[in-house]
Protein backbone atom coordinates (compact mmCIF):
# COMPACT_ATOMS: atom_id res chain seq x y z
CA UNK A 1 0.00 0.00 0.00
CA UNK A 2 1.70 3.16 -1.09
CA UNK A 3 1.14 6.21 0.99
CA UNK A 4 -0.89 8.88 -0.63
CA UNK A 5 -0.67 12.02 1.47
CA UNK A 6 -4.04 13.31 0.31
CA UNK A 7 -5.97 10.32 1.60
CA UNK A 8 -4.38 10.20 5.05
CA UNK A 9 -6.26 10.54 8.25
CA UNK A 10 -6.40 14.09 9.52
CA UNK A 11 -3.06 15.10 10.94
CA UNK A 12 -2.69 15.37 14.64
CA UNK A 13 -0.55 18.00 16.23
CA UNK A 14 2.60 16.17 16.97
CA UNK A 15 3.75 17.82 20.14
CA UNK A 16 0.43 17.32 21.80
CA UNK A 17 -0.13 14.15 23.76
CA UNK A 18 -3.61 12.80 23.27
CA UNK A 19 -4.79 13.27 26.82
CA UNK A 20 -7.93 11.90 28.35
CA UNK A 21 -9.92 14.26 30.49
CA UNK A 22 -7.94 14.15 33.72
CA UNK A 23 -10.53 13.35 36.35
CA UNK A 24 -12.34 10.60 34.44
CA UNK A 25 -9.03 9.01 33.51
CA UNK A 26 -7.91 9.04 37.11
CA UNK A 27 -11.20 7.55 38.26
CA UNK A 28 -11.02 4.82 35.65
CA UNK A 29 -7.50 3.97 36.74
CA UNK A 30 -8.40 3.99 40.39
CA UNK A 31 -11.83 2.44 40.08
CA UNK A 32 -10.78 -0.74 41.88
CA UNK A 33 -9.61 1.30 44.87
CA UNK A 34 -12.82 3.35 44.82
CA UNK A 35 -14.83 0.16 44.56
CA UNK A 36 -12.95 -1.35 47.51
CA UNK A 37 -13.65 1.75 49.61
CA UNK A 38 -17.32 1.60 48.60
CA UNK A 39 -17.49 -2.06 49.62
CA UNK A 40 -15.90 -1.31 53.00
CA UNK A 41 -18.32 1.57 53.61
CA UNK A 42 -21.26 -0.57 52.52
CA UNK A 43 -20.43 -3.53 54.77
CA UNK A 44 -19.54 -1.21 57.64
CA UNK A 45 -23.09 0.13 57.50
CA UNK A 46 -25.05 -3.05 56.88
CA UNK A 47 -22.90 -5.71 58.56
CA UNK A 48 -22.49 -5.23 62.29
CA UNK A 49 -19.03 -6.23 63.43
CA UNK A 50 -17.49 -5.72 60.01
CA UNK A 51 -15.84 -2.41 60.83
CA UNK A 52 -13.53 -3.73 63.48
CA UNK A 53 -9.74 -3.97 63.69
CA UNK A 54 -9.86 -7.65 64.53
CA UNK A 55 -12.19 -8.40 61.66
CA UNK A 56 -9.87 -6.52 59.30
CA UNK A 57 -6.96 -8.61 60.58
CA UNK A 58 -8.99 -11.72 59.83
CA UNK A 59 -9.67 -10.49 56.30
CA UNK A 60 -5.94 -9.99 55.83
CA UNK A 61 -5.03 -13.43 57.14
CA UNK A 62 -7.78 -15.09 55.10
CA UNK A 63 -6.66 -13.58 51.84
CA UNK A 64 -3.00 -14.59 52.26
CA UNK A 65 -3.08 -17.75 50.16
CA UNK A 66 -5.19 -16.14 47.42
CA UNK A 67 -2.87 -13.15 47.19
CA UNK A 68 0.33 -15.19 47.10
CA UNK A 69 -1.11 -17.29 44.25
CA UNK A 70 -1.88 -14.04 42.45
CA UNK A 71 1.56 -12.44 42.91
CA UNK A 72 3.34 -14.80 40.53
CA UNK A 73 0.34 -15.09 38.22
CA UNK A 74 0.48 -11.29 37.76
CA UNK A 75 3.84 -11.68 35.98
CA UNK A 76 2.42 -14.42 33.74
CA UNK A 77 -0.64 -12.37 32.81
CA UNK A 78 1.44 -9.27 32.05
CA UNK A 79 3.54 -11.45 29.74
CA UNK A 80 0.28 -12.26 27.87
CA UNK A 81 0.14 -15.80 29.22
CA UNK A 82 -1.87 -17.74 31.77
CA UNK A 83 -0.83 -20.38 34.29
CA UNK A 84 -3.74 -22.72 34.97
CA UNK A 85 -1.62 -25.04 37.10
CA UNK A 86 -1.11 -22.79 40.13
CA UNK A 87 -4.02 -24.23 42.11
CA UNK A 88 -2.75 -27.78 41.95
CA UNK A 89 0.92 -26.84 42.17
CA UNK A 90 -0.14 -25.25 45.44
CA UNK A 91 -1.98 -28.45 46.43
CA UNK A 92 0.99 -30.64 45.50
CA UNK A 93 3.38 -28.36 47.37
CA UNK A 94 1.16 -28.47 50.47
CA UNK A 95 0.99 -32.28 50.38
CA UNK A 96 4.71 -32.77 49.71
CA UNK A 97 5.87 -30.34 52.34
CA UNK A 98 3.33 -31.71 54.87
CA UNK A 99 4.65 -35.22 54.22
CA UNK A 100 8.23 -34.09 54.83
CA UNK A 101 7.21 -32.27 57.99
CA UNK A 102 5.18 -35.24 59.16
CA UNK A 103 8.17 -37.52 58.59
CA UNK A 104 10.38 -35.25 60.66
CA UNK A 105 8.06 -35.29 63.69
CA UNK A 106 10.24 -35.23 66.79
CA UNK A 107 12.94 -33.03 65.27
CA UNK A 108 13.32 -29.42 66.46
CA UNK A 109 10.65 -27.10 65.10
CA UNK A 110 12.98 -24.89 62.99
CA UNK A 111 14.33 -28.00 61.21
CA UNK A 112 10.80 -29.14 60.43
CA UNK A 113 9.76 -25.71 59.13
CA UNK A 114 12.83 -25.22 56.94
CA UNK A 115 12.59 -28.74 55.54
CA UNK A 116 8.92 -28.11 54.67
CA UNK A 117 9.75 -24.77 53.08
CA UNK A 118 12.61 -26.31 51.07
CA UNK A 119 10.30 -29.06 49.82
CA UNK A 120 7.69 -26.52 48.78
CA UNK A 121 10.26 -24.43 46.91
CA UNK A 122 11.58 -27.54 45.20
CA UNK A 123 8.08 -28.40 43.94
CA UNK A 124 7.62 -24.82 42.76
CA UNK A 125 10.92 -24.75 40.88
CA UNK A 126 10.27 -28.13 39.26
CA UNK A 127 6.73 -27.30 38.13
CA UNK A 128 7.85 -23.88 36.96
CA UNK A 129 10.76 -25.32 35.00
CA UNK A 130 8.37 -27.68 33.20
CA UNK A 131 5.88 -24.89 32.42
CA UNK A 132 8.67 -22.54 31.42
CA UNK A 133 10.39 -25.05 29.16
CA UNK A 134 7.11 -25.90 27.43
CA UNK A 135 5.94 -22.32 26.95
CA UNK A 136 9.24 -20.53 26.30
CA UNK A 137 11.38 -23.06 24.48
CA UNK A 138 8.89 -25.50 22.95
CA UNK A 139 6.36 -22.79 22.11
CA UNK A 140 3.39 -24.70 23.52
CA UNK A 141 0.51 -22.25 24.11
CA UNK A 142 0.44 -21.44 27.85
CA UNK A 143 -3.18 -22.52 28.19
CA UNK A 144 -2.37 -26.05 26.99
CA UNK A 145 1.05 -26.40 28.61
CA UNK A 146 -0.17 -25.39 32.05
CA UNK A 147 -3.34 -27.44 31.67
CA UNK A 148 -1.07 -30.45 31.29
CA UNK A 149 0.98 -29.49 34.33
CA UNK A 150 -2.22 -28.92 36.28
CA UNK A 151 -3.31 -32.50 35.67
CA UNK A 152 0.11 -33.96 36.43
CA UNK A 153 0.41 -31.97 39.67
CA UNK A 154 -3.12 -32.98 40.66
CA UNK A 155 -2.37 -36.64 40.01
CA UNK A 156 0.93 -36.64 41.88
CA UNK A 157 -0.65 -34.80 44.82
CA UNK A 158 -3.42 -37.42 45.12
CA UNK A 159 -0.98 -40.30 44.72
CA UNK A 160 1.31 -38.89 47.44
CA UNK A 161 -1.46 -38.12 49.89
CA UNK A 162 -3.76 -40.98 48.99
CA UNK A 163 -6.63 -38.47 49.00
CA UNK A 164 -7.25 -37.34 52.55
CA UNK A 165 -5.37 -34.43 54.12
CA UNK A 166 -1.84 -35.08 55.38
CA UNK A 167 -1.78 -33.67 58.88
CA UNK A 168 1.17 -32.73 61.05
CA UNK A 169 1.05 -33.08 64.81
CA UNK A 170 4.00 -30.98 65.88
CA UNK A 171 3.50 -28.67 68.83
CA UNK A 172 4.13 -25.01 68.16
CA UNK A 173 3.69 -25.23 64.41
CA UNK A 174 0.24 -23.67 64.60
CA UNK A 175 1.71 -20.46 65.94
CA UNK A 176 3.57 -19.83 62.69
CA UNK A 177 0.37 -20.13 60.73
CA UNK A 178 -2.14 -18.52 63.04
CA UNK A 179 -0.10 -16.47 65.49
CA UNK A 180 0.40 -12.74 65.73
CA UNK A 181 3.42 -10.51 65.72
CA UNK A 182 2.34 -8.83 68.96
CA UNK A 183 -0.01 -9.68 71.82
CA UNK A 184 -1.61 -7.55 74.47
CA UNK A 185 -3.23 -8.59 77.70
CA UNK A 186 -4.86 -5.99 79.95
CA UNK A 187 -2.94 -7.23 82.98
CA UNK A 188 0.14 -9.04 81.67
CA UNK A 189 0.89 -6.31 79.12
CA UNK A 190 2.48 -6.41 75.68
CA UNK A 191 4.56 -9.22 74.23
CA UNK A 192 6.17 -9.98 70.90
CA UNK A 193 5.83 -13.28 69.03
CA UNK A 194 4.16 -15.21 71.83
CA UNK A 195 1.59 -14.90 74.58
CA UNK A 196 2.50 -12.61 77.47
CA UNK A 197 4.18 -14.47 80.31
CA UNK A 198 1.94 -15.93 82.93
CA UNK A 199 -1.14 -15.92 80.76
CA UNK A 200 -2.82 -19.30 80.60
CA UNK A 201 -6.13 -21.00 80.90
CA UNK A 202 -9.19 -18.78 80.72
CA UNK A 203 -7.02 -15.63 80.63
CA UNK A 204 -5.95 -16.50 77.08
CA UNK A 205 -9.37 -15.39 75.93
CA UNK A 206 -8.59 -11.81 77.00
CA UNK A 207 -5.42 -11.65 74.91
CA UNK A 208 -5.58 -9.47 71.83
CA UNK A 209 -3.34 -10.26 68.89
CA UNK A 210 -1.97 -7.62 66.52
CA UNK A 211 -0.50 -8.14 63.04
CA UNK A 212 -1.31 -11.73 62.11
CA UNK A 213 1.82 -13.53 60.92
CA UNK A 214 0.01 -14.49 57.70
CA UNK A 215 -0.28 -10.76 57.00
CA UNK A 216 3.39 -10.27 57.83
CA UNK A 217 4.30 -13.01 55.33
CA UNK A 218 2.21 -11.52 52.54
CA UNK A 219 3.54 -8.02 53.16
CA UNK A 220 7.09 -9.35 52.76
CA UNK A 221 6.23 -11.40 49.67
CA UNK A 222 4.22 -8.59 48.08
CA UNK A 223 7.09 -6.17 48.67
CA UNK A 224 9.48 -8.61 47.02
CA UNK A 225 7.29 -9.24 43.99
CA UNK A 226 6.48 -5.54 43.72
CA UNK A 227 10.17 -4.68 43.65
CA UNK A 228 10.87 -7.37 41.08
CA UNK A 229 8.10 -6.25 38.74
CA UNK A 230 8.27 -2.51 39.19
CA UNK A 231 11.88 -1.71 39.82
CA UNK A 232 14.13 -4.20 38.09
CA UNK A 233 15.37 -4.87 34.59
CA UNK A 234 13.64 -8.24 34.64
CA UNK A 235 10.33 -6.59 35.54
CA UNK A 236 10.69 -4.11 32.70
CA UNK A 237 11.32 -7.01 30.32
CA UNK A 238 8.17 -8.74 31.55
CA UNK A 239 6.14 -5.74 30.38
CA UNK A 240 8.05 -5.56 27.09
CA UNK A 241 7.55 -9.24 26.34
CA UNK A 242 3.83 -8.90 27.05
CA UNK A 243 3.45 -5.68 25.10
CA UNK A 244 5.27 -6.59 21.90
CA UNK A 245 7.42 -9.74 21.92
CA UNK A 246 8.83 -8.98 18.46
CA UNK A 247 9.96 -5.52 19.51
CA UNK A 248 11.35 -6.88 22.77
CA UNK A 249 13.37 -9.47 20.93
CA UNK A 250 14.64 -6.95 18.35
CA UNK A 251 15.73 -4.73 21.23
CA UNK A 252 17.88 -7.58 22.46
CA UNK A 253 15.70 -8.88 25.30
CA UNK A 254 16.11 -12.66 25.58
CA UNK A 255 12.52 -13.70 24.94
CA UNK A 256 12.70 -17.37 25.92
CA UNK A 257 14.79 -16.86 29.05
CA UNK A 258 12.49 -14.08 30.25
CA UNK A 259 9.38 -16.22 29.73
CA UNK A 260 11.03 -19.21 31.38
CA UNK A 261 11.82 -17.20 34.50
CA UNK A 262 8.27 -15.82 34.60
CA UNK A 263 6.78 -19.32 34.77
CA UNK A 264 9.31 -20.47 37.37
CA UNK A 265 8.43 -17.42 39.44
CA UNK A 266 4.70 -18.13 39.13
CA UNK A 267 4.95 -21.79 40.20
CA UNK A 268 7.25 -20.81 43.05
CA UNK A 269 4.71 -18.32 44.35
CA UNK A 270 2.03 -21.02 44.06
CA UNK A 271 4.24 -23.41 46.03
CA UNK A 272 4.77 -20.76 48.70
CA UNK A 273 1.00 -20.35 48.90
CA UNK A 274 0.87 -24.10 49.54
CA UNK A 275 3.41 -23.73 52.33
CA UNK A 276 1.39 -20.91 53.93
CA UNK A 277 -1.61 -23.25 53.77
CA UNK A 278 0.38 -25.94 55.61
CA UNK A 279 1.36 -23.48 58.34
CA UNK A 280 -2.21 -22.30 58.70
CA UNK A 281 -3.96 -25.66 58.77
CA UNK A 282 -1.06 -27.84 59.98
CA UNK A 283 -1.48 -30.12 57.03
CA UNK A 284 -1.64 -30.36 53.29
CA UNK A 285 -4.36 -31.49 50.92
CA UNK A 286 -4.28 -32.14 47.19
CA UNK A 287 -7.17 -29.85 46.30
CA UNK A 288 -6.17 -27.04 48.68
CA UNK A 289 -5.90 -24.53 45.86
CA UNK A 290 -8.47 -25.99 43.50
CA UNK A 291 -10.90 -23.07 43.60
CA UNK A 292 -8.25 -20.43 44.19
CA UNK A 293 -6.58 -20.34 40.78
CA UNK A 294 -9.56 -18.64 39.17
CA UNK A 295 -10.05 -16.33 42.16
CA UNK A 296 -6.44 -15.22 41.91
CA UNK A 297 -6.87 -14.46 38.20
CA UNK A 298 -10.03 -12.57 39.14
CA UNK A 299 -8.06 -10.52 41.66
CA UNK A 300 -5.51 -9.67 38.97
CA UNK A 301 -8.24 -8.67 36.51
CA UNK A 302 -9.98 -6.51 39.11
CA UNK A 303 -6.59 -4.95 39.81
CA UNK A 304 -6.46 -3.59 36.28
CA UNK A 305 -4.23 -6.06 34.48
CA UNK A 306 -5.02 -6.71 30.84
CA UNK A 307 -5.62 -10.33 29.88
CA UNK A 308 -3.99 -9.42 26.55
CA UNK A 309 -0.74 -8.70 28.37
CA UNK A 310 1.49 -5.71 28.86
CA UNK A 311 -0.43 -4.15 31.68
CA UNK A 312 -0.83 -4.82 35.40
CA UNK A 313 0.71 -4.08 38.77
CA UNK A 314 1.33 -5.85 42.05
CA UNK A 315 -0.53 -3.09 43.86
CA UNK A 316 -3.52 -3.77 41.61
CA UNK A 317 -3.43 -7.46 42.45
CA UNK A 318 -3.37 -6.62 46.16
CA UNK A 319 -6.42 -4.38 45.75
CA UNK A 320 -8.16 -7.10 43.70
CA UNK A 321 -7.46 -9.72 46.37
CA UNK A 322 -8.76 -7.33 49.02
CA UNK A 323 -11.98 -6.79 47.06
CA UNK A 324 -12.59 -10.54 46.92
CA UNK A 325 -11.65 -11.05 50.58
CA UNK A 326 -13.91 -8.20 51.72
CA UNK A 327 -16.87 -9.53 49.73
CA UNK A 328 -16.39 -13.02 51.22
CA UNK A 329 -16.04 -11.68 54.74
CA UNK A 330 -18.95 -9.25 54.47
CA UNK A 331 -21.33 -11.87 53.13
CA UNK A 332 -20.40 -14.28 55.91
CA UNK A 333 -21.07 -11.62 58.54
CA UNK A 334 -24.40 -10.84 56.93
CA UNK A 335 -25.23 -14.53 57.21
CA UNK A 336 -25.78 -14.90 53.49
CA UNK A 337 -25.30 -18.35 52.04
CA UNK A 338 -21.53 -18.48 51.31
CA UNK A 339 -22.20 -19.78 47.82
CA UNK A 340 -23.47 -16.34 46.89
CA UNK A 341 -19.92 -15.09 47.15
CA UNK A 342 -19.15 -16.79 43.85
CA UNK A 343 -21.98 -14.86 42.24
CA UNK A 344 -20.77 -11.59 43.76
CA UNK A 345 -17.14 -12.15 42.75
CA UNK A 346 -18.26 -13.14 39.27
CA UNK A 347 -20.25 -9.94 38.91
CA UNK A 348 -17.23 -7.90 40.01
CA UNK A 349 -14.98 -9.62 37.46
CA UNK A 350 -17.41 -8.84 34.66
CA UNK A 351 -17.60 -5.27 35.88
CA UNK A 352 -13.79 -5.04 35.93
CA UNK A 353 -13.57 -6.20 32.32
CA UNK A 354 -16.30 -3.76 31.24
CA UNK A 355 -14.52 -0.87 32.94
CA UNK A 356 -11.28 -1.92 31.25
CA UNK A 357 -12.95 -2.01 27.83
CA UNK A 358 -14.60 1.34 28.39
CA UNK A 359 -11.18 2.73 29.24
CA UNK A 360 -9.88 1.36 25.96
CA UNK A 361 -12.76 2.89 24.03
CA UNK A 362 -12.51 6.36 25.53
CA UNK A 363 -8.76 6.59 26.03
CA UNK A 364 -6.99 4.36 23.54
Amino acid sequence: MSANPTTMSPPSIDDENIRPAGLIALASRLWAVLFLIALIVFFSIVAPGFFDLFNFQAVGANMAVLLVLGLGQTFVIISAGIDLSTGFVMGLSSVASALVMQGLTGYPLPVIIFAGLAMALLIGLAAGAVNGALVAYMRVPPFIATLGTLSVAQGVAYVLSGGPPVSIATRGLGFFGNGFLAYFHPEAGLSILGLPEGVSGAAVRDVMGFFPLQVVYIVILAAFFGWLLGRTRFGRHVYAVGGNPKAASRAGIPLEWTLFRIYVLCSTSAALAGFLYVLRFNGGVANAGDALMLSSVAAIAIGGASMLGGQGRILGTIVGALVIAVIQNGLVILGIDPFWQYVAVGAVIIMAVLVDQAKGRFFP
Binding site: M1, S2, A3, P5, M8, S9, P10, P11, S12, I13, D14, D15, E16, N17, I18, R19, W227, R231, T232, R233, R236, H237, Y239, A240, G242, G243, N244, K246, A247, A248, R250, A251, G252, I253, G310, Q311, F363, P364
Partner: protein, 267 residues
Amino acid sequence: MSPLATETRTAPASIPQGPHPEGLAPVLRCRKLTKRFGGLVAVDQVDFDVYPGETVALLGDNGAGKSTLIQTVAGVHRPDGGSIELDGKEVEIRSPLQARDLGIETVFQDLALCDNLGAAENIFLGRELPGKAYRFLPGLNEARMRSEAKSVLSELHINIRNLDAPVRTLSGGQRQATAIARAVYWKARLMIMDEPTAALGVPEQKKVLSLIEALKARGVPVIVISHNMQDVFEVADRLFIMRRGRAVADLRAADTNANEVVRLMVG
Protein backbone atom coordinates in the same frame (compact mmCIF):
# COMPACT_ATOMS: atom_id res chain seq x y z
CA MET B 1 22.97 -17.44 -24.35
CA SER B 2 20.50 -15.34 -26.23
CA PRO B 3 21.43 -11.76 -27.06
CA LEU B 4 18.69 -10.58 -24.71
CA ALA B 5 20.15 -12.45 -21.75
CA THR B 6 23.59 -11.06 -22.50
CA GLU B 7 22.18 -7.60 -22.51
CA THR B 8 20.59 -7.95 -19.07
CA ARG B 9 23.78 -9.51 -17.74
CA THR B 10 25.83 -6.52 -18.70
CA ALA B 11 23.33 -4.03 -17.41
CA PRO B 12 24.97 -3.42 -13.99
CA ALA B 13 28.23 -2.39 -15.59
CA SER B 14 26.52 0.33 -17.55
CA ILE B 15 24.32 1.80 -14.82
CA PRO B 16 24.57 5.53 -14.45
CA GLN B 17 27.25 5.89 -11.79
CA GLY B 18 26.54 7.87 -8.67
CA PRO B 19 28.83 10.70 -7.69
CA HIS B 20 30.57 9.46 -4.56
CA PRO B 21 32.11 12.04 -2.24
CA GLU B 22 35.82 12.38 -3.01
CA GLY B 23 38.32 11.09 -0.49
CA LEU B 24 35.75 9.59 1.88
CA ALA B 25 35.67 5.91 2.72
CA PRO B 26 32.20 4.37 2.64
CA VAL B 27 30.56 3.48 5.95
CA LEU B 28 28.78 0.57 4.33
CA ARG B 29 30.19 -1.30 1.37
CA CYS B 30 28.31 -4.24 -0.12
CA ARG B 31 30.00 -6.22 -2.86
CA LYS B 32 28.15 -8.70 -5.09
CA LEU B 33 25.61 -9.17 -2.32
CA THR B 34 23.25 -12.01 -3.20
CA LYS B 35 20.19 -13.42 -1.45
CA ARG B 36 18.07 -16.24 -2.83
CA PHE B 37 14.75 -17.56 -1.65
CA GLY B 38 14.55 -21.01 -3.21
CA GLY B 39 14.68 -20.42 -6.95
CA LEU B 40 14.04 -16.72 -6.67
CA VAL B 41 17.08 -14.46 -6.66
CA ALA B 42 15.77 -11.56 -4.58
CA VAL B 43 19.07 -9.69 -4.51
CA ASP B 44 21.43 -10.43 -7.37
CA GLN B 45 25.11 -9.45 -7.02
CA VAL B 46 24.38 -5.93 -5.85
CA ASP B 47 27.18 -3.44 -5.13
CA PHE B 48 25.88 -0.83 -2.72
CA ASP B 49 27.88 1.84 -0.89
CA VAL B 50 26.82 4.40 1.67
CA TYR B 51 29.09 7.33 2.56
CA PRO B 52 29.25 9.35 5.82
CA GLY B 53 26.56 11.95 6.21
CA GLU B 54 24.58 11.14 3.11
CA THR B 55 20.99 10.11 2.71
CA VAL B 56 20.44 7.40 0.16
CA ALA B 57 16.97 6.60 -1.09
CA LEU B 58 16.52 3.00 -2.05
CA LEU B 59 13.91 2.78 -4.77
CA GLY B 60 12.22 0.10 -6.76
CA ASP B 61 8.87 -1.37 -7.62
CA ASN B 62 7.33 -4.02 -5.37
CA GLY B 63 9.52 -7.11 -5.50
CA ALA B 64 12.56 -5.22 -6.77
CA GLY B 65 14.57 -6.54 -3.84
CA LYS B 66 15.06 -3.34 -1.87
CA SER B 67 13.55 -4.66 1.35
CA THR B 68 15.53 -7.88 1.08
CA LEU B 69 18.74 -5.90 0.53
CA ILE B 70 18.05 -3.78 3.59
CA GLN B 71 17.02 -6.74 5.73
CA THR B 72 20.23 -8.51 4.80
CA VAL B 73 22.23 -5.53 6.01
CA ALA B 74 20.07 -5.34 9.15
CA GLY B 75 20.73 -8.98 10.01
CA VAL B 76 17.22 -10.26 9.34
CA HIS B 77 18.42 -12.40 6.40
CA ARG B 78 21.83 -13.97 5.88
CA PRO B 79 23.36 -13.41 2.46
CA ASP B 80 24.00 -16.32 0.08
CA GLY B 81 26.92 -14.57 -1.53
CA GLY B 82 28.99 -11.41 -1.54
CA SER B 83 30.36 -9.40 1.33
CA ILE B 84 29.40 -6.58 3.66
CA GLU B 85 32.01 -4.16 4.98
CA LEU B 86 31.44 -1.64 7.76
CA ASP B 87 34.01 1.16 7.94
CA GLY B 88 36.35 -0.93 5.86
CA LYS B 89 36.09 -4.09 7.93
CA GLU B 90 34.32 -7.14 6.59
CA VAL B 91 31.50 -8.21 8.91
CA GLU B 92 29.18 -11.16 9.17
CA ILE B 93 25.78 -10.10 10.47
CA ARG B 94 23.92 -13.03 11.94
CA SER B 95 21.03 -11.37 13.76
CA PRO B 96 19.24 -8.05 14.17
CA LEU B 97 20.79 -7.82 17.63
CA GLN B 98 24.28 -8.20 16.19
CA ALA B 99 23.51 -5.54 13.58
CA ARG B 100 22.54 -3.20 16.44
CA ASP B 101 25.73 -3.99 18.28
CA LEU B 102 27.65 -3.07 15.12
CA GLY B 103 25.84 0.27 15.04
CA ILE B 104 23.31 -0.50 12.32
CA GLU B 105 20.00 0.77 13.67
CA THR B 106 16.85 0.00 11.76
CA VAL B 107 13.55 1.80 12.15
CA PHE B 108 11.22 -0.88 10.90
CA GLN B 109 7.92 -0.06 9.28
CA ASP B 110 6.12 -1.42 12.33
CA LEU B 111 8.49 0.63 14.51
CA ALA B 112 9.35 -2.17 16.93
CA LEU B 113 8.13 -0.19 19.91
CA CYS B 114 6.42 -1.63 22.95
CA ASP B 115 3.12 0.24 22.90
CA ASN B 116 2.49 -0.34 26.60
CA LEU B 117 5.73 1.33 27.67
CA GLY B 118 6.66 5.00 27.73
CA ALA B 119 8.97 6.82 25.31
CA ALA B 120 11.89 6.77 27.76
CA GLU B 121 11.35 3.08 28.49
CA ASN B 122 11.33 2.33 24.77
CA ILE B 123 14.51 4.27 24.11
CA PHE B 124 16.27 2.19 26.77
CA LEU B 125 14.51 -1.07 25.97
CA GLY B 126 16.86 -4.00 26.39
CA ARG B 127 19.66 -1.64 27.48
CA GLU B 128 18.22 -0.30 30.72
CA LEU B 129 20.59 1.64 32.94
CA PRO B 130 21.15 -0.06 36.29
CA GLY B 131 20.54 1.86 39.48
CA LYS B 132 19.05 1.55 42.93
CA ALA B 133 15.49 0.75 43.93
CA TYR B 134 14.29 2.20 47.24
CA ARG B 135 17.90 3.34 47.77
CA PHE B 136 19.20 -0.07 48.79
CA LEU B 137 18.06 -2.74 46.34
CA PRO B 138 19.41 -3.28 42.84
CA GLY B 139 17.11 -1.65 40.33
CA LEU B 140 16.96 0.83 37.48
CA ASN B 141 18.22 4.37 37.17
CA GLU B 142 14.85 5.77 36.14
CA ALA B 143 15.79 9.40 36.72
CA ARG B 144 18.86 9.21 34.52
CA MET B 145 17.03 7.30 31.76
CA ARG B 146 14.26 9.89 31.77
CA SER B 147 16.65 12.84 31.63
CA GLU B 148 18.77 11.26 28.88
CA ALA B 149 15.63 10.49 26.90
CA LYS B 150 14.48 14.05 27.37
CA SER B 151 17.78 15.47 26.16
CA VAL B 152 18.05 13.25 23.08
CA LEU B 153 14.44 14.08 22.17
CA SER B 154 15.00 17.79 22.61
CA GLU B 155 18.21 17.60 20.56
CA LEU B 156 16.02 16.29 17.77
CA HIS B 157 13.42 19.00 18.52
CA ILE B 158 10.81 16.48 19.49
CA ASN B 159 8.40 17.46 22.20
CA ILE B 160 6.82 14.63 24.17
CA ARG B 161 5.28 15.99 27.32
CA ASN B 162 4.91 12.85 29.34
CA LEU B 163 7.79 10.44 28.81
CA ASP B 164 6.01 7.85 30.96
CA ALA B 165 2.79 7.81 28.94
CA PRO B 166 2.46 4.58 26.96
CA VAL B 167 3.61 5.26 23.40
CA ARG B 168 0.26 4.00 22.08
CA THR B 169 -1.15 7.31 23.33
CA LEU B 170 1.34 9.26 21.21
CA SER B 171 0.81 10.45 17.66
CA GLY B 172 2.33 8.58 14.73
CA GLY B 173 5.03 11.20 14.34
CA GLN B 174 5.95 11.06 18.01
CA ARG B 175 6.17 7.29 17.82
CA GLN B 176 8.39 7.49 14.75
CA ALA B 177 10.48 10.09 16.58
CA THR B 178 10.82 7.79 19.59
CA ALA B 179 12.14 5.02 17.36
CA ILE B 180 14.57 7.43 15.71
CA ALA B 181 15.66 8.87 19.06
CA ARG B 182 16.47 5.37 20.23
CA ALA B 183 18.77 4.88 17.26
CA VAL B 184 20.38 8.28 17.78
CA TYR B 185 20.90 7.77 21.49
CA TRP B 186 22.69 4.50 20.91
CA LYS B 187 25.05 6.18 18.45
CA ALA B 188 24.02 4.58 15.21
CA ARG B 189 26.79 4.38 12.63
CA LEU B 190 24.21 3.71 9.95
CA MET B 191 20.50 4.26 10.07
CA ILE B 192 18.00 2.33 7.98
CA MET B 193 14.43 3.57 7.71
CA ASP B 194 11.78 1.48 6.06
CA GLU B 195 8.91 3.63 4.74
CA PRO B 196 9.28 6.18 7.54
CA THR B 197 6.43 8.41 6.35
CA ALA B 198 3.99 5.77 5.16
CA ALA B 199 1.55 5.84 8.06
CA LEU B 200 1.70 9.53 8.90
CA GLY B 201 -0.34 12.64 8.30
CA VAL B 202 1.18 15.44 6.24
CA PRO B 203 2.56 17.64 9.07
CA GLU B 204 4.05 14.56 10.69
CA GLN B 205 5.69 13.51 7.44
CA LYS B 206 7.39 16.91 7.37
CA LYS B 207 8.57 16.38 10.92
CA VAL B 208 10.09 13.00 10.12
CA LEU B 209 11.83 14.41 7.04
CA SER B 210 13.35 17.12 9.20
CA LEU B 211 14.50 14.40 11.60
CA ILE B 212 16.33 12.77 8.74
CA GLU B 213 18.00 16.12 8.04
CA ALA B 214 18.99 16.31 11.70
CA LEU B 215 20.59 12.87 11.47
CA LYS B 216 22.46 13.93 8.36
CA ALA B 217 23.76 16.97 10.20
CA ARG B 218 25.19 14.63 12.81
CA GLY B 219 27.07 12.75 10.13
CA VAL B 220 24.92 9.63 10.42
CA PRO B 221 24.24 8.17 7.00
CA VAL B 222 20.63 7.21 6.39
CA ILE B 223 19.17 4.68 3.99
CA VAL B 224 15.52 5.42 3.30
CA ILE B 225 13.12 3.10 1.57
CA SER B 226 10.16 5.04 0.29
CA HIS B 227 7.45 5.01 -2.32
CA ASN B 228 6.83 8.69 -1.97
CA MET B 229 8.73 10.55 -4.75
CA GLN B 230 8.17 13.91 -3.13
CA ASP B 231 9.80 12.72 0.12
CA VAL B 232 12.61 11.09 -1.78
CA PHE B 233 13.56 14.27 -3.61
CA GLU B 234 13.21 16.31 -0.46
CA VAL B 235 15.70 14.37 1.67
CA ALA B 236 17.86 12.16 -0.51
CA ASP B 237 21.33 13.06 -1.76
CA ARG B 238 21.52 9.96 -3.84
CA LEU B 239 19.05 7.56 -5.39
CA PHE B 240 19.78 3.86 -5.69
CA ILE B 241 17.30 2.12 -7.94
CA MET B 242 16.70 -1.61 -8.11
CA ARG B 243 14.72 -3.71 -10.53
CA ARG B 244 14.12 -7.45 -10.27
CA GLY B 245 16.90 -7.96 -7.76
CA ARG B 246 19.56 -5.97 -9.61
CA ALA B 247 20.95 -2.48 -9.23
CA VAL B 248 19.93 -0.45 -12.27
CA ALA B 249 20.90 3.11 -11.38
CA ASP B 250 22.86 5.10 -8.83
CA LEU B 251 22.16 8.81 -9.29
CA ARG B 252 22.69 12.12 -7.62
CA ALA B 253 19.25 13.44 -6.69
CA ALA B 254 20.10 16.84 -8.17
CA ASP B 255 20.90 15.27 -11.56
CA THR B 256 17.58 13.56 -12.13
CA ASN B 257 13.82 13.97 -11.83
CA ALA B 258 10.79 11.94 -10.85
CA ASN B 259 9.95 10.92 -14.42
CA GLU B 260 13.37 9.49 -15.07
CA VAL B 261 13.33 7.66 -11.74
CA VAL B 262 9.97 6.07 -12.43
CA ARG B 263 11.15 5.03 -15.88
CA LEU B 264 14.22 3.38 -14.34
CA MET B 265 12.10 1.65 -11.69
CA VAL B 266 9.68 0.02 -14.12
CA GLY B 267 12.27 -0.55 -16.83
